[in-house]
């Protein structure tokens, strides 16, 4: 048979060749990423110890650990969610439950989605000009949290709105039919159904906030702190900027290579752990969903 004008033999060769190329392309990426992970675990693993995770840096960063960077990253990521979750969830509830559908809503949603794609360094520029300099919060945990909060807000809002929209209209109708008012319907029926989905989005955003570097270089992070943060106005170290500083700004780049790999592995475990958790929740949600 000569479908598409080729002999069967030609077609079979093509099939083998094309599928081979596809497998090669997919496989090569998986292989590169796999090799990368193994290498990071190998180099980073030999640097990580209990002391490495719990000590302050010593001897111009060549010894000691990354404890203040871990603390700073936790603080920045959690603080950013304190900004993004109330605002983002509130905005999402308004958009999904109260706002009238129409061109205005479409434009707003388009705006939210587009801002989610704005490069993070642009948010850093914004945070530096507004929070650090103009509002006078200085280079601090507070400025960093606000910058990261603004950065993750579109993502949190969009994910929360999506989760709310996936709750069937019949839920609301049933509640309203039983005499509940709109807020009661939202609080007692819609939110319990949508909350896990909304929080999944928030955890993904938390992971992103923990891994961001460019927005916090000049808004929050110090190269070295030897004390715990005293208040929200303290400068903090953070894992991503610590890696960046040691690898590019450091005084002893070769001598601190083990620290750099160790910090990379720690950051990856933290960020991917969060994403993995969110993915598992999402998978279970999809399976468990009865609507």
């Amino acid at each position: 048979m000569a479908l598409f004008g080729y002999s069967l033999k030609e077609r079979q060769t093509r099939e083998l060749l094309a599928l081979g190329v596809i497998r090669f392309l997919g496989g090569s990426f998986l292989a590169v990423m796999g090799a990368l992970v193994v290498y990071l675990v190998y180099r980073g693993g030999s640097a990580i110890s209990w002391d490495f995770l719990t000590e302050y840096p010593r001897d111009s960063m060549t010894a000691g650990g990354i404890w203040p960077a871990i603390v700073g990253t936790f603080g920045l990521a959690a603080g950013s969610m304190l900004v993004a979750i109330p605002l983002g969830f509130g905005a999402a509830i308004y958009l999904a439950e109260y706002a009238r559908p129409g061109p205005l809503l479409t434009v707003i949603r388009l705006g939210v989605n587009n801002l989610a794609g704005v490069p993070s360094v642009v948010f850093g520029l914004f945070g530096l000009a507004v929070f650090v300099s103009f509002l006078g919060f200085g280079r601090s945990l507070l400025s960093g949290c606000l910058t990261l909060g603004v950065l993750t807000l579109p993502t949190v809002t969009a994910a929360a709105e999506e989760a709310l929209r996936q709750t069937p209209a019949s839920f609301r109708e049933a509640a309203l039919a039983l005499g509940a008012n709109r807020w009661q319907a939202i609080r007692q029926v819609v939110l319990p159904a949508a909350l896990p989905g909304m929080l999944t989005g928030a955890i993904l955003a938390l992971g992103r906030a923990a891994g961001e570097t460019a927005p916090i270089i000049f808004t929050a992070s110090a190269a070295l702190t030897l004390n715990a943060p005293e208040s929200v106005f303290s400068e903090v170290m953070a894992l991503p900027t610590h890696i960046f500083n040691l690898a590019t700004n450091g005084a002893h780049i070769a001598a601190t290579r083990p620290q750099q790999f160790g910090a990379c592995l720690t950051l990856i475990v933290l960020v991917l752990g969060l994403s993995l958790f969110a993915l598992i929740i999402r998978a279970r949600l999809r399976k468990g969903r009865k609507w």
Binding site: I203, T225, L274, I281
Partner: protein
């Protein structure tokens, strides 16, 4: 379903708790924040460590992303001290004046910009003119300087760097450097890059002569602490710390430590030439 929700909420709050865990409430001095020149970073880091051993109640944070950033942050009140590898630019003076901030300058060290090449490169001597030619782009091959037939890879510093500005002023006379020069963001990174590249040439402070790099004599003089102190090395400069006249007592205390016997001993141990105040 709600269980998962609570679990998620728990994770997020664990993050918050983890962060607040360390906020211990022992009495402390006002915090001292120092930023600016990466050339002084090895010294300021080390000094902060030792300082806190002597005065554990003090709080010091150290940053370093460039002299320009340090001076700007000092005028904005974002930091208390700014390490600098050059003097103030005219527009920085104007800005400080406009903000009604008076800055004080102290010299913490003297430094030479050591010109370095990879240890495998046989070149050990250049004239200032040749150096200028390399960075302007008129000299492109090591052969032209009596070396191997290899393209020269000049390494520059970022524009925020005071070292970069001193280099442009003292070596290039303010002329535009070639645009294809590599850019590294600290002296440490330049030394590392030159150590890993047979064709590279770069300039670093005296505290950064680490790894497989060789110092090149300029106009017959090799950069060294001695040559900088006596003034015979042509590309020398001071390293400064700027502070504000309205600085806190804690900031003054740390600054005095840097200038005192202990600070200056640490300075020399890190490979800088003492200020000799």
């Amino acid at each position: 379903m709600t269980k998962i929700g609570f679990l998620a909420l728990a994770i997020i709050s664990v993050f918050g708790l983890g962060a607040s865990y360390q906020a211990a409430d022992r009495p402390r001095g006002e915090s001292v924040r120092i930023s600016g020149s990466t050339t002084l970073l090895p010294f300021t880091q080390k000094a902060a460590e030792e300082y806190l051993k002597d005065y554990p109640q003090e709080v010091v944070t150290v940053s370093g992303t460039g002299t320009g950033e340090g001076v700007k942050s000092l005028v904005d009140g974002v930091v208390d001290l700014a390490a600098a590898s050059r003097d103030l630019r005219p527009e920085e003076r104007e800005r400080a004046q406009a903000a009604k901030v008076t800055l004080r300058r102290v010299t913490v060290a003297k430094d030479g910009l050591a010109v370095i090449v990879n240890a495998s490169n046989p070149i050990r001597e250049l004239t200032l003119d040749q150096l200028r030619g390399i960075y302007l782009g008129t000299i492109n091959n090591w052969r032209e300087l009596g070396g191997q037939d290899r393209v020269i890879v000049p390494i520059n510093r970022d524009s925020s760097s005071g070292t970069f500005e001193m280099w442009i002023e003292m070596v290039l006379g303010g002329r535009k450097h070639r645009p294809d020069a590599q850019v590294q963001s600290s002296s440490g990174a330049v030394a590392y890059a030159v150590g890993g590249n047979r064709q590279a040439i770069g300039y670093v402070g005296l505290g950064f002569l680490d790894g497989p790099v060789a110092v090149v004599a300029i106009n017959g003089v090799k950069a060294s602490i001695e040559a900088v102190v006596t003034g015979s090395y042509p590309i020398s400069r001071g390293l400064y710390v700027f502070s504000r006249t309205d600085s806190s007592a804690s900031a003054d205390k740390f600054l005095n430590y840097l200038l005192g016997a202990k600070g200056q001993a640490l300075l020399e141990a890190e490979g800088y030439a003492p200020a000799g105040n």
